[in-house]
C-alpha cells in the first residue's frame, strides 16, 4: 500500500500527482523580458514627455530596455554558474560599465577623458568594488572545499553517534 503525506490543515492525503509546480520552459524568462521590453517601447511611443501623444519617436525606452536586458544577462550568467559568482559578477560589472559609458557618450557635451563626462564617477567605483574586489577576495580567501564540508559532516555525525 503506497502512502503519501497527510496535509496538516485539512487532514487529506496529499497525492504528489496533484501538486502544483512552478517549472518553466527554458524560453519563459526570455519571453517575459521581451514582453516587458515591448511594454516599455509602447509607453515611450505614446508619451512625448509633456502629455500622452502618439509621437512615433523613441526617447528613453532604448536605455530602459537595454538596462532590462543587461539585468537579464547578468542574472542568467550568475544563475548559470552559481559556484563561479566571483567570476560572473565582475563580468556583469564590466557590462554595466559599458552600459553607463554608452549613455554618457549619447548625451553631450562629451568633453572629458575618452569623451566621457560623468560616467567615470560611476565606472571607477564599479570597477573597484564589483570587478576587482570579488576576484581579489576569492583568490585571497582560504575557502573550504566541498570535500572538506563532507568530511566535516561525516565526522560530526560519527562523533554524535558515538
Amino acid at each position: 500500500m503506497m502512502e503519501h503525506k497527510r496535509c496538516p490543515h485539512c487532514g487529506k492525503q496529499l497525492n504528489p500527482d496533484d501538486r502544483i509546480t512552478y517549472t518553466f520552459k527554458w524560453w519563459s524568462t526570455i519571453l517575459m523580458t521581451v514582453i516587458l521590453s515591448l511594454m516599455l517601447f509602447a509607453l515611450d511611443l505614446v508619451d512625448d514627455g509633456q502629455h500622452v501623444n502618439f509621437s512615433n519617436r523613441i526617447e528613453w525606452s532604448n536605455w530602459a530596455i537595454l538596462g532590462l536586458w543587461l539585468v537579464f544577462i547578468s542574472v542568467q550568467l550568475i544563475r548559470y554558474q552559481p559556484y563561479y559568482e566571483w567570476l560572473m559578477i565582475p563580468v556583469s560589472g564590466i557590462l554595466f560599465s559599458i552600459f553607463i559609458a554608452m549613455i554618457d557618450r549619447y548625451i553631450p557635451p562629451n568633453e572629458g577623458f575618452m569623451q566621457l563626462d560623468w560616467a567615470w564617477y560611476v565606472i571607477i567605483p564599479v570597477l573597484t568594488f564589483v570587478v576587482i574586489l570579488p576576484i581579489a577576495a576569492r583568490i585571497a580567501r582560504e575557502q573550504p572545499t566541498h570535500y572538506d564540508r563532507l568530511e566535516y559532516l561525516v565526522e560530526y555525525l560519527a562523533e554524535e553517534d558515538a
Partner: protein, 309 residues
C-alpha cells in the same frame, strides 16, 4: 428550537435579532474582496514567478516532479525490518517502484530516498554536491531509525557509495550496492569543475536517453559537470573511511556497464579490506540493472540476501 404555545393557542417561534444592514454589507464586501484577491493571486502567481526569474539569480526550479518524490511503503504483514533504497546520480526514487513493491510484499518496510537536487531541475542539481546528497541519506536514515532498529541499505550506483559512507557511521544490518563506484579512473575528471565554466551540462548518450524514455522515467537528459565532481568526493570519502566499514555487503556488478565501473569489484577488494563482500554478476545487464533484462533475477538476489542477513 422549541416553539412556545401562548395562551391564545397560536404558535410563536422566537427569531434572532436581525443583523444591521451595514454589518451584512461589510461582511459580504470582505468576502467578495477575498474571492477577488484569491483569484488575482492564483492568476498572477506564475507570471510573478517568471518576473522574479528575470531579477533573482537564486530562483532555481526546486519543485519536485510529481513522480520523483520520495516514497515509503508499509507492509501488510510487517517483519520488523526496514530497507532504505537510494538511487544513483541524475536518477530518481522512481527506479525502485517495482523492487519496493516486491520487498513490501515480503514484509519489509521500504523507504526510497530522493537525493537533494534530483527529481527537480538540472539547474538545481548543478548547485548540489556530495555533502547535500549525503545529508538527504542521513535524514531518511534518522527518520527510519525512529521506528526500526534493523535497517538494510540498498543503493544503486552513487546511492550505494553514499550507503557505504553511512555504514561507516551508523550500525546498519547489511547493505547491497549495485554498480557503485569506489574509485573512478578518469584522470581528466579532476578538472571537471573548471570545465563546467564553459560547458555546464553534458548530454547523456542517446542509448541512455532512449532507455529512459522506454521506461518512462523522469531522470535528467544531461549531467551537470559541476555536480559530477561530487561523485568523486563521495568515492574519496569511502576510501578514506574504509577501515570503519565492517558490515556484510552484497555487490552486484553489471557486465554491460561503463568500463570504469566494471572494474569496481577489484577496487572494492583493494580498498574495503575489513568488509566481507559477496559479489554477484549480472551477465546481460546495463548500468541501470533494475531496468535491465535481469531485473527479476536481481530482485531475487536482494530478497535472498535480506533473508540470510
Amino acid at each position: 428550537m422549541t416553539a412556545q404555545i401562548e395562551t391564545d393557542g397560536r404558535e410563536k417561534i422566537p427569531t434572532p435579532a436581525r443583523e444591521p444592514l451595514y454589518k451584512t454589507s461589510y461582511r459580504y464586501l470582505l468576502r467578495e474582496l477575498h474571492i477577488i484577491g484569491d483569484g488575482l493571486i492564483s492568476g498572477l502567481s506564475e507570471s510573478l514567478a517568471l518576473v522574479k526569474r528575470i531579477f533573482n539569480p537564486k530562483s532555481v526550479d526546486r519543485a519536485i516532479q510529481p513522480q520523483a518524490a520520495w516514497f515509503h511503503i508499509k507492509p501488510a504483514q510487517p517483519n520488523g525490518r526496514a530497507v532504505l533504497l537510494c538511487h544513483g546520480f541524475a536518477a530518481t526514487p522512481e527506479i525502485f517502484r517495482e523492487l519496493a513493491e516486491t520487498l513490501a510484499n515480503a514484509g519489509y518496510y521500504v523507504r526510497a530516498i530522493r537525493l537533494s537536487g534530483h527529481g527537480t531541475s538540472l539547474g538545481h542539481l548543478a548547485q548540489t554536491t556530495a555533502v547535500d546528497w549525503f545529508a538527504s541519506v542521513v535524514w531518511h536514515y534518522q527518520q527510519t531509525k525512529e521506528n526500526y532498529d534493523n535497517i538494510t541499505f540498498v543503493g544503486h550506483s552513487l546511492g550505494g557509495t553514499l550507503g557505504m559512507i553511512l555504514a561507516t557511521i551508523y550500525p546498519l544490518q547489511s547493505m547491497i550496492a549495485m554498480c557503485s563506484p569506489v574509485e573512478l579512473d578518469i584522470p581528466p575528471a579532476k578538472f571537471v569543475r573548471e570545465a563546467s565554466i564553459l560547458v555546464k551540462y553534458w548530454p547523456r548518450s542517446r542509448r541512455k536517453r532512449e532507455a529512459l524514455d522506454r521506461e518512462g522515467l523522469s531522470s535528467y537528459r544531461a549531467s551537470p559537470l559541476y555536480a559530477i565532481g561530487g561523485i568523486f568526493e563521495a568515492t574519496q570519502m569511502v576510501r578514506d573511511r574504509a577501515d570503519h566499514l565492517t558490515l556484510p555487503m552484497l555487490y552486484v556488478k553489471a557486465v554491460n556497464d561503463h568500463k570504469t565501473l566494471i572494474v569496481q569489484p577489484e577496487k572494492i577488494k583493494k580498498y574495503l579490506t575489513s568488509t566481507p563482500v559477496t559479489f554477484k554478476i549480472a551477465e546481460n545487464s546495463p548500468h541501470s540493472v533494475l531496468q535491465g533484462p535481469e531485473r527479476e533475477l536481481i530482485h531475487e538476489w536482494i530478497l535472498d540476501w535480506l533473508e540470510t542477513h
